[in-house]
Structures are given as structure tokens and as C-alpha cells.
Subunit: 762 residues, 2 copies
């Protein structure tokens, strides 16, 4: 850095780098892209929850004018695969049987969408209905219909994790709380439906336009599924209209690849919203049994959990999400004795996957409800019991997680203070008011997600006019990642932000980035960006030093000007140096190829002991609710969110993340639920599946705590997931505070409120 404490861009609310393109409609999404000779694909999906495929007759569909290919399992390489190496239970199209309503059975490529749609109706599939199972506990029974024959039972995975000694912990406790909770299956409700274009290249190569959070990981998985090398798949990431965990590997993409290979034409598939609802990968619904022990003063002595997680009919990331739910909360408080038994259970329902929070949000709801229950029983304030148990900074937790910075106490204090300073309003007649607090932790990286390494890289190129392009392999899915990276790169390089562009991902040149998950983008990706920027700066400074006749150690840069530290009038612009460099080097640009490796430790497969993340994040939310006694409607009237973010990169984007997290959490808590009957989702569309609108969402007062994190870029940590995690507990605690009823099942609908109020009146 330039040697003084003032930043040029870090901590500033610069305009998002993609704002212009998005606001003017220039941003290129998959739906906007049309390639020469492009065909349109449609997928035939199973109408049955569990059925044997007796016969597929595609002849009538094939014969339809304008149809270029009809493909089924027989047209695929017939390789088993899946997003998780431990649970490869996917085929590109159903083999022999279907396991859920929405499963891919066949696909059509035609000259237009209408023809493709019409052809679907002409595919004759003869099914033989099999017995189905939908309930989690029923599915675990030994007599239940077996959904995936490669597994002995309907359990996709189990986790049995124990640290310390819970028996001693419970024995030492003065208070034991034992409860059950359950969380619902909700939809990520991103704006852009899932879509893909695949262009076949010569021989066996494919170019895929994939709006996906993990462009490189998907390449590896898809290469396996297609029986080709990963480098034969070039992924171009177009603009993404939101993802929130939904946009990982999807059969949609592979169905499109098969059509493209078969027709030798580019093929586009855009899901209908209905298809996204029935064949996406919504949040893993979980059932909890929890038992916690406390000392009189509120100190936690032990925690024991049993979690049954709905995996759906095939495995997206259910097992990882389930095991995360088992242990991640253990870095929120200073747990010593913990045990968790988790089961990811197959049922004949939609496969479930990642959703902002990745299992931790479910467990935070449970833990933070129990914490309030304990506090009440022990006569401690909600903030008091949390501050008492808080995990310290520079501490190794019970699972080996190295907590560096932890600003949790400060977030509690800030949120409580802000809440106390609220304008006092009288409670209107017929209304109840209540305030609830919940804390959260989260990771900012996940060493367990990709087996081979943990880190990030960037390639920074300075062109002949001193303008800079940054290639990274992480993923902007609408959250503003590219803007944060631009700020970080400009700051690290000493460049003008306006001189810097961030390239969209093209795996042909972008580094192998791990992608957008686990709140890792800014933290891990940001360090990779700094590494590339510094590598470019080194080459730039060497060229400048030669021009100025000084040593490059003496140089600093700011706002695209390089100058001598002790003689700042001796200076050159980036553009002057770069032009000289490029024209003296036969047209070669200044290139910085930098990388960063985290100090994380892969978790032990069985015990999960390790150090999953280079940094850990914390936050506290407080909700104030007003409940209508007549309608049961819960209005979240005030909301305070204080987050330990290490260092603020962009306050506006950060606040946007928090507001989005609160809004999503509010929907999950009060409104949203994918209602299912016999495996059929009943509210598969925004008409029936309501998400919060602008009138449902309170003004969120965001606050930052900045304990500069050594493992983050300029001290920054992430925000994506912790912004959502504490919302259900904060609102549930507020509802309890308002009406004295403890809700342990999400969502907390007006009907449930009314029923509870009636119950109370009895």
C-alpha cells in the first residue's frame, strides 16, 4: 500500500461496476444470447413421484417437423455422477425409474420453443407406478420403498460427531432444555430462471454459457458426466440474475449438452418458473431434537442434537448441509461438550440443496430459540446469556476451527444500543409488540467443499494505455462481488477505479476459482485479487523504476500515478509506464499472475475436526414485531442488524446484502413454504408461493463492527449468509416476547399465530 492509512476505495460506496449495464438493459443474460444455428431445448419431466419406466417411445416426437433431436438416458454416456463425490446418485436422464415429480426423463431440441414444447407431448412414456415415500421418518423405516438402490436404505448420509463429553456436561448443568424444532423447505426465489446455452465445438468440446455459482467445479462434474476432459468444457459465465445457493450443478445443463452433442447445433434451454420450482433445489428441510445444558449463570455446559434432513430423491448437497447443521453453530459460542447425530434422508421429493446459510441458518434458528428459552428460565437478559457464552478471538474451537477475529460482543452491544434508541411508539389497540434478539456466526470460506485446495488466484493485465483488466475465477451472481474485487484491486494496485475493469468469467483464461459459496468470495477471492494486483504492480514498478532511474522499492502508487515515496514530485502515470513497457516488449502487456492459499485444514471425514475457514464472521440481529390480534399478521416494524465484517469494503453493497438477507429470512420465517402433497409441490409459482414484497420488509438499520481480520483483504470478511441466518430466531423470539408463545416450526403463519392466541385464551 501507499504507506499511509487512508484508502482510496476501501470503505467507499462506489457505484457497482455493472450498474450501468444492468440499469440500461445492456447486460447480457442467457436469455439475451442467440447463436448462429441455435436450437431450443425442452425437458420432459416425470409426472410421478416413483415409477418404473417401462418404455419410452420418441418416434412421434422425432417425426414432428422442426424437431432436431429427442434424447433419453440411452443417448447419454450413462455415467453415474453428482455434485458430491460421496453421493453420486445422478444420471443425466432417468435410468429405469423416476424418483421424483420433475425428474428429467427426456429432452427435445427443435427450431423454436413452441415446437420443442409440442414435441414433449408426443413422447410416450409407459410408467409402472412404484410405492413412494415422502415423510422423513417413514423413509428411514426398514420397510420403506428404496429410492436409490445403490444405498442400502433411504439414508444418503449420516454424521455422528462428538467432542468433549456431553454426559459430564449435562451432569454439571443446572438447567436442561430439550426441544424439537422443524424448518421448512423454501425456494431461493432468484429473479432469473435457470438457463443454459451449450455450443458444441469441433470434436468433443463444448462451450457452456452457465449462470452458475461454481463455474470450475461444475466443469469437473460435467466432464465426468459427459465422459470428456474438463478442459474440453469452456464455461462462460454470463450475468446471473441471482442465485442464493440455487445455481450449482443442474441436470438442465447436461440435458442441454446432450442435445447439443447430438444435433451438433448450439442449444438453449430456459426453464419455466414452474420447472425451477419443481426441479430446482430448495432449502433442506430439517427436523431437530435438541438438548442443552446450562449452569445457573447461563454458561452452556453441553449440547446434543439429532437432525433429520430432507435430502430429496437424489443428492445435491444435502449431506454437506446436514453435517454443517450439526457442527457449524459450535463456533458461535464457546461450546466444550457437543454431540450431534445427523441423517440426510431420501424421499420421493424434489432434491434439496444450497440456500444462503447452508444448514447453519436452520441450526441458528434452533440454537437461538433455545438460548432465549434458557435466558428466560434463568432470569438473564437475551444479550447477557449470549455475551457470557461468546467465543473469544484467537481461539481454537472444539472442532479445531481457528477463530481469528470475533467481534460478536460488539455486535450485540451495537444492536442493543440502537434498539434502545428507537422512537417509542405506543402499542395500538388490538396489537401486540415484542422484541427479539438472535446472534449468528458463519464461516467465510469452506475447506471441506472442494477437496483439492483452498485459495484463490487472479490475473491482472495492464494494457498499453495503463488501463487494467482483472480476471478472477470467483463468481458475481448479482451480489456485487465484481465491485468489491474492483475496489480491492484498485486499492492494492494503486490504480484509479475508473481505469479498472473486471472480466466476466471465461474458464479459457480466468483462474480456476472455487466460486461463490460459504461467504468466501470477498475474503478468499479478495486475497487472490490482491495477489494478482501485487504481482502486476511489481512488474509495473520495475518498468517505472527503470524509466525513473530509481529502485522499485522506493516507489508507491495511488490513483494510477507512480511516485517516489520520499520525492513525490518524481512521478509517472500508469499509462506512461505501460505504453513504454508494451511498445518495448513487442506488444506484450504487463501481467500479474498471483495467488493466495488459505491456512485452512481439511476437516477429518469422520470427526470433521479441522479448520474449515480462514476467517469467521459474527452478527447480531434484533427484530421488533407488531402482531395483529385479529388477523394473526406479524408485521416486522423495526430491524437492527450489527455485523462483524472485519473491514467494510463498500457500505452500500454491504447494507444491501443485509437488507436482502433480512428480507429472505423474513419470508422464510413468516410466509414461505413449499407445500407438498404426495410429492407434488402445490404452490409451484409466484402466484401461490408468496415472498415478501416491499410492504412486508422493514427498514433495516445496519451497523458494522470492524476487527481487522489478518486473513481477509484489507481486513475484510464476508457477509452473504450471516445476513440471513439470525432472522428466523430474532423474529420468533420477538413473537414470543410479544405474545408469550414459542414457535418451533417454520413458517410462523398468521393461522398458527391465531391458533396460538386462541389456545392461550382458553
Amino acid at each position: 500500500m501507499s504507506g499511509n492509512n487512508e484508502f482510496s476505495y476501501i470503505g467507499k460506496s462506489v457505484t457497482p461496476v455493472d450498474a450501468w449495464e444492468k440499469a440500461t438493459g445492456r447486460a447480457m443474460f442467457v436469455t439475451d444470447l442467440k447463436l448462429p444455428g441455435m436450437l431450443y431445448g425442452k425437458i420432459l419431466r416425470s409426472p410421478h413421484a416413483h415409477a418404473r419406466i417401462v418404455k419410452i417411445d420418441t418416434s412421434k416426437a422425432q417425426a414432428l417437423k422442426g424437431v432436431k433431436a429427442v434424447v433419453t438416458f440411452a443417448d447419454t454416456p450413462q455415467i453415474k455422477f453428482g455434485p458430491m463425490a460421496s453421493n453420486e446418485d445422478w444420471y443425466i436422464f432417468a435410468k429405469d425409474k423416476v424418483r421424483f415429480i420433475g425428474e428429467e426423463v427426456a429432452a427435445v431440441a427443435a427450431i423454436d420453443e413452441e415446437t420443442a414444447e409440442a414435441a414433449l407431448d408426443l413422447i410416450d412414456v409407459t410408467y409402472e407406478i412404484l410405492p413412494s415415500v415422502f415423510d422423513l421418518e417413514e423413509a428411514m423405516n426398514s420397510g420403506a420403498p428404496l429410492i436409490n438402490e445403490d444405498w442400502q436404505k433411504n439414508i444418503a448420509s449420516e454424521a455422528h460427531i462428538e467432542q468433549g463429553d456431553i454426559d459430564t456436561g449435562f451432569a454439571e448443568s443446572d438447567l436442561i432444555i430439550e426441544e424439537t424444532f422443524s424448518t421448512s423447505q423454501v425456494y431461493q426465489a432468484y429473479m432469473e430462471a435457470m438457463a443454459v446455452i451449450v455450443r458444441p465445438e469441433k470434436e468433443k468440446g463444448l462451450t457452456m454459457w452457465l449462470p452458475i455459482q461454481v463455474p470450475n467445479k461444475a466443469r469437473l462434474i460435467y466432464a465426468k458426466a459427459l465422459g470428456i476432459s474438463s478442459e474440453d468444457i469452456r464455461v462462460i459465465k454470463p450475468f446471473i440474475g441471482g442465485a442464493f445457493g440455487a445455481k450449482f450443478e443442474a441436470n438442465l445443463h447436461l440435458a442441454c449438452a446432450i442435445l447439443a452433442e447430438k444435433t451438433k447445433h448450439p442449444v438453449k434451454i430456459v426453464n419455466t418458473r414452474y420447472e425451477d420450482f419443481i426441479a430446482g433445489n430448495p432449502r433442506v428441510p430439517m427436523r431437530y431434537w435438541i438438548k442443552m445444558g446450562f449452569k445457573k449463570d447461563g454458561k452452556i455446559t453441553a449440547k446434543h442434537m439429532r437432525i433429520i434432513a430432507g435430502n430429496g430423491a437424489r443428492t445435491v448437497y444435502g449431506p454437506a448441509i446436514m453435517s454443517t447443521a450439526c457442527i457449524r453453530i459450535d463456533s458461535l459460542y464457546n461450546f466444550e461438550n457437543v454431540k450431534a447425530d445427523g441423517f440426510a434422508v431420501y424421499t420421493n421429493t424434489i432434491p434439496t440443496g444450497c440456500f444462503r446459510g447452508f444448514g447453519n441458518s436452520q441450526s441458528i434458528f434452533v440454537l437461538e430459540s433455545v438460548m432465549d428459552m434458557a435466558a428466560e428460565k434463568l432470569g438473564i437478559t437475551p444479550e447477557g446469556i449470549r455475551k457470557l457464552n461468546v467465543i473469544p478471538s484467537n481461539y481454537v474451537n472444539v472442532h479445531g476451527w481457528k477463530i481469528g477475529t470475533c467481534g460478536l460482543v460488539e455486535t450485540v452491544d451495537k444492536a442493543v444500543e440502537a434498539m434502545k434508541n428507537r422512537a417509542n411508539e405506543d402499542v395500538k389497540p388490538g396489537k401486540y409488540r415484542g422484541i427479539g434478539l438472535a446472534c449468528t456466526n458463519h464461516v467465510s470460506g469452506n475447506r471441506g467443499f472442494f477437496p483439492t485446495f483452498d485459495g484463490s488466484a487472479s490475473l491482472v493485465r495492464i494494457g498499453e494505455d495503463g488501463k487494467i483488466i482483472l480476471y478472477h475465477g470467483e463468481c458475481d451472481m448479482g451480489q456485487g462481488q465484481d465491485t468489491a474485487f474492483a475496489q480491492i484491486a484498485a486499492e492494492a494496485l494503486g490504480a484509479k477505479l475508473a481505469d479498472l475493469r473486471v472480466a466476466s468469467i471465461d474458464t479459457q483464461i480466468s483462474p480456476f476459482g472455487l466460486g461463490s459459496y460459504a461467504t468466501r468470495g470477498t475474503t478468499v477471492g479478495g486475497m487472490g485479487v490482491i495477489a494478482g494486483a501485487k504481482a502486476a504492480q511489481k512488474n509495473l514498478f520495475q518498468a517505472a523504476a527503470a524509466m525513473l532511474g530509481v529502485s522499485s522499492d522506493e516507489l508507491v502508487a495511488r490513483e494510477s500515478i507512480i511516485y517516489l515515496r520520499n520525492q513525490p514530485e518524481k512521478r509517472l502515470t500508469f499509462s506512461e509506464v505501460a505504453k513504454t513497457y508494451v511498445f518495448e516488449h513487442g506488444g506484450a502487456s504487463i501481467i500479474g499472475n498471483g495467488y493466495y492459499i488459505t491456512d485452512t485444514v481439511p476437516p477429518d471425514p469422520k470427526t470433521k475436526y479441522g479448520n474449515i475457514s480462514p476467517a469467521y464472521v459474527f452478527g447480531t440481529h434484533i427484530a421488533e414485531v407488531e402482531i395483529d390480534a385479529e388477523t394473526g399478521h406479524v408485521d416486522v416494524v423495526n430491524y437492527w442488524a450489527a455485523h462483524d465484517v472485519g473491514r467494510v469494503i463498500n457500505p452500500t453493497l454491504l447494507a444491501g446484502q443485509v437488507e436482502g438477507g433480512v428480507s429472505m429470512g423474513l419470508g422464510w420465517t413468516l410466509m414461505e413454504d413449499m407445500l407438498t402433497r404426495e410429492g407434488q409441490i402445490l404452490n409451484a409459482g409466484f402466484l401461490d408461493y408468496r415472498i415478501p414484497g416491499s410492504k412486508d420488509v422493514p427498514r433495516v438499520q445496519s451497523m458494522w463492527v470492524e476487527p481487522v481480520e489478518p486473513n481477509g483483504p484489507f481486513g475484510a470478511k464476508g457477509i452473504g449468509e450471516p445476513a440471513l441466518n439470525p432472522v428466523p430466531a430474532a423474529i420468533a423470539n420477538a413473537i414470543y416476547n410479544a405474545i408469550g408463545v414459542r414457535f418451533k416450526e417454520l413458517p410462523i403463519t398468521p393461522e398458527k399465530i391465531l391458533r396460538a392466541l386462541k389456545e392461550k385464551e382458553k
Copy 2:
């Protein structure tokens, strides 16, 4: 290299890297590309050869529904510019007056082409006709109407070059030939009409999809014209459907940029073929006066030329082409005393520009006609007089050009031998047969074209699966440059060709390449490719050496396998090494950023003394013609072409270049001419402007001479232009041989033949 003499790919006719995409219609040309919100542009062109613009009323056009912008000179930055720094006489739209029929007066952007077209008719331009001048000599007269007021007279540039002493030379000569010649204005007849898309980016940036030979040079020129920084212009080079010199800077592109800036929408303009004919930049027509002295034995003693070149109404590259015509032939033979006076003359006609040969082809026609005339007079064979005067290898010519390798004698011998081995056919009644020979030289690079440097660079990236992507900044315009580069890169890197892809140019990441001109691509660009490949190989070998526990000096690579030179069973695949490297480096790829600088010397602006090219190429063509006495039709029945190419990279592509050159040359010699009356081109379309069809073109027997050139990749030199240069003289000499009539004006049409035959009969 791998230390032995066998190449894996050099000298092999590998399939062109873009063959699949082109054959299947997947290749993306500008016409195929459609961006969100894209508008369509049309240009209003001057109907007058010379006229004052009194008034432009765009109000009616603006009011037409669907019209988004109508722009004229007033909407531009009003900056004078031009492709040549010495002759900046362009504005984006006509200022105050028009200078030729076809000049850009205004442009419209509308929602579709039809609306844009209709709007053109609604623009009212009031012109006041000015006196025009079309004839070159008339234009040079002091009383002629002045076309560009910044110049004192209608002379865009002059060249007066003299080396040695022609007076002494002529005094020593036994034979003096003094003649006049003229060459015609011909159209490059590429398949894809000129086209462009410009997308405005936020603030003042532009992305331009430019099918252009010089993406980077154009960026600099366009930045000046638009008053922005060159790095604010990102150029993406799509597939190009041929160029042959025609696709350099064009106002079309800038008109589109102005429309894009004004509308803030992407805009596409695709010329009609008519527009390409009337507002492109056809070959510079030239009039020659030449005087040459010879000794009795055929040795050249002196050459004096006067050239008047038609520059058109504004300067594309006329001055450079004219000065090239003055001196480039002086490296074909061992000239000692030369003088040339050249004039590039403004007339009220279409501006002229580059066309394969760049002035040298015009002069080769003249010189090689005179050589035959001298040989006949001196009783020497055509091949004898040429071999006597041939320029030696490792020689500095009269202009300072350092001739490295010269295989001219061998090309003469090979061509003559092949010709002598032809099947003997009886001359049919009513037909004449004749054989003609012509030699050519050419550069393989041009130090005078871009002021700042001469060289090339490449960026080679090895991804995690060992697959390679090559970024270069040169230009494939359909000639197969990318295929040659792929072969060179694979060979230099020791990679499998199938593992290597060549990226299309995107100035955001591709090196600053000088582009496709002067037969420089393979020679100079190829050396840049080797440099990048070697830089990547160094990094790859270091990683492999660490894995194998050896020194990287001991390693060699072939077909994507790295092995110990003396212990070849100790080996690793590229993929094994790359995966380890990438995953150990946080996802950073192996990058090679290499460059090459030629040892050329910029020519002195006045004397032109320097060393223009790192290598020089030579060739000999022999044509056999059969002339129909009744119709005057000249049928080229046999054709032999022997070229010094240094080293063959790809025989099929090389032969393709020669066949294309012969075909183009044949059209120029016998058929093509842009007929003009009062500045109006009369045959502006392929219905009236005939180019050779398959029945007009003979089978060409191509032969190679390979004097390995130290300044070329694996010894290779270029082929693009020399393949065309000697065709007119070879055919004209054959016609003379057949009927005893010497044609000194192109084209040699059937009418001229018939007239000559009649004249002879008298």
C-alpha cells in the same frame, strides 16, 4: 525443441483450426451477432463527386417512427484524423463539402434496417456542385480544383528516392529500355461485406466488434477520431470473411460508434455490396514511366521510374503504397543505381488503399515486363536474365535492406523444370499458345507501417487439465493464420495440437499485435508465438522438474508429454503437471507471457534507407496461356508457382494461399477493372464486376524452396502477397510469347487482344 530434427506439426497439412466452425455454420461473423437493445445503422453517402454542403435538414428523418438518432458532422468530435499520421484528411462525416461519390454525409440508427433505410431518404441535403477532377495528370495541374484545402495542391505525398548514380549506370549500359505502363483500380472482392457492431459501455467506453486486419492500430486511430483513450475501446475481432488489404480503418466503424454513443444502444451496420464497391478502398491505380539500362550480358545498370498513383479523394494508405512501389522491387535484383519519383494524387474518386501486394505487385508487373523485353533484345532467356541479376543471400541492398535468406534462383529453376516437364499439347487451330515467366520479391514484415515498434507477443495459458490457450494480437482474416500459429505453438511447447486452442482477438487480454499486413503474420507473429510458448514451457518444466526431482534443463516435451532427455521413461503428462501446479497455486494457471522484437531498422522518412523487414521472400511464377484468335479470350491453361517460404508450416494452407493469389492476379490481369465515369463507379456489383470463376482458374502447381530463415519461426517466411505479385507479368509475358504483342496496361481484356491481333494483321 525436443532436440531432434523431426517436427510433430511443422510441415504437416493439419486441418485448419476453424474448419469445423466454418463448415458447420457455427462461426460467428458480425452479421450473426445480435445484442440486447441493438439498433441498425445506415449511412447516407454523397451522390456528388465534389460539392459544397449548404444545408443538412434531418428533421423529417428524426421524426420517422423507429428512428433513434440521425447524426452528421455536427455530432462528431470534429477531429481530423486518418490511417496515416502523415496524411490526416478524414472526418467521420463530411465537413462543409463532399469529395467523392460515396463519402459519408450522415447516418441513421433505427429499430430495424428498413426504417433506417427509409430515414435516409428523408434527410434533405442541399448541395452546391463544385468543379471536379478525375484524371491523375489533370489533378496535378496547378489550375485543378483543390480537393483537400489543407494541402497546397492535389498531391497527397511525394517520394524522391535515389541510391547510387543512375547517370553513370545509364552511361555504362548497352541497352536502354524506356516504357510506360499503367495498372488498374481493382476491388478486393472478399466474401464478407464490411460490417461492425459498436456497443457503448458506461461512461465513454466502447466495445467494437471489428472484422479488421489491424485491431490494435485501428483502436489508436479511432480513439483519436473519437477523442477518447485507446484503452476505452475494446476491440473484439469476430471471424472475418476475407480482407486482402481492404479491411483496415473505415469511417463505417466510426459512424457506427457515433450512433452508439448518441443512442446509448448497441448499433450494427452492415454495408451493402454496393457500398463496399463505392466507398471501400480498392487497389491504387498507377501510371509508370520506367527507364532501365542493361549491359550486353543482361546485367542491370540503372533504373529510373516515375510513378503517379491515384490516391482518391482522401488518404487511406496511398502514400505508403506509392513509396513502396518506388523502392520495394529493388530487393528483387541486385540494383545499384536507382531513382524513383512518386506522386500520390488526389482526385474526386473513391479513396484507394491496401490490396495484397501493397504497390509492389504493380511494380513487379512493370519490372518483370521490362526484364522480358530486355532479355529478348539481348538474346537471353527470361530465366537467364533473372538469375544473372538475382540478389544474393546475406546481402545489404541499396536501401539498407538486410537480405538474409534468398532462394530466388532455386525458385526459378524449380518452376522452369516443372514447366518443361509439362505434358506437351498440340496447339489447336485458331489458338495461340505462349509461356511467360515472372519473378517476385516481397517483404515479410514492414518496419515502416507502425512507428513505435516491430515485433509480436503472445500469452500462452496452460489450464488445470493441461490444455493450452494461445492469445496473440495478430489477425486471422481467413488466411489460416490461427492454424499456422497453433502448429507453431504446439511444436514450440511440445504439446499435442488437439490440446491447443487459439483465442480470437479481444484487446482486453490479447497482446498488442500489429496485425495482418506486409506478409508478416507467420514470420513476425510466429516468432511472438514461440516466445509465449517457450515462456509457458519454462514454467511448466519448472513445475515438472520439482515433481520429478530433476533439473528443468534435462526436460524435453513432445505431444503433451514431458520427459527426461536421457531417460525418456521418466515422464509426466502436461495434464499431470498442470493439475498439480494449478491446485498448488490457488487456482492460478501456468502463464507464458513472451515477446519478440525484430532487428529491423525504421526507414529514413526521406531517403527510405533502413531495413524494413526481418526477412525477405521470393518466388517465380510461370504461366502458359492459350489465346482464342476469334474471341480474344485468354485461357491460362497451366500455371507453375515456386516460392521461397523459408520453411513450410502447412503445405495445404500454403498451396491455398498461392492458388488464391494466382486467381486474384489472373482477375486483375485479364478481367477486373473498376470502370469510372465522372467519379461514378459503373460496375459496382458482382453482376457487372466479374472476378474469376472456377473455370477461369488453372490448376496451380505449387513448389517450395526452404532456405531456413533465422528470423522466422522454425525458419518460415510469409506467402500472402508474393503469391499474387508476379501473376500479371507472367501472364502478360506469356501473351507476348503467344502473339508477339506486349501489353502494358491492365487489364488485358479480350477486346484489347482482338484489337492487337487485328493491328498485327495489318
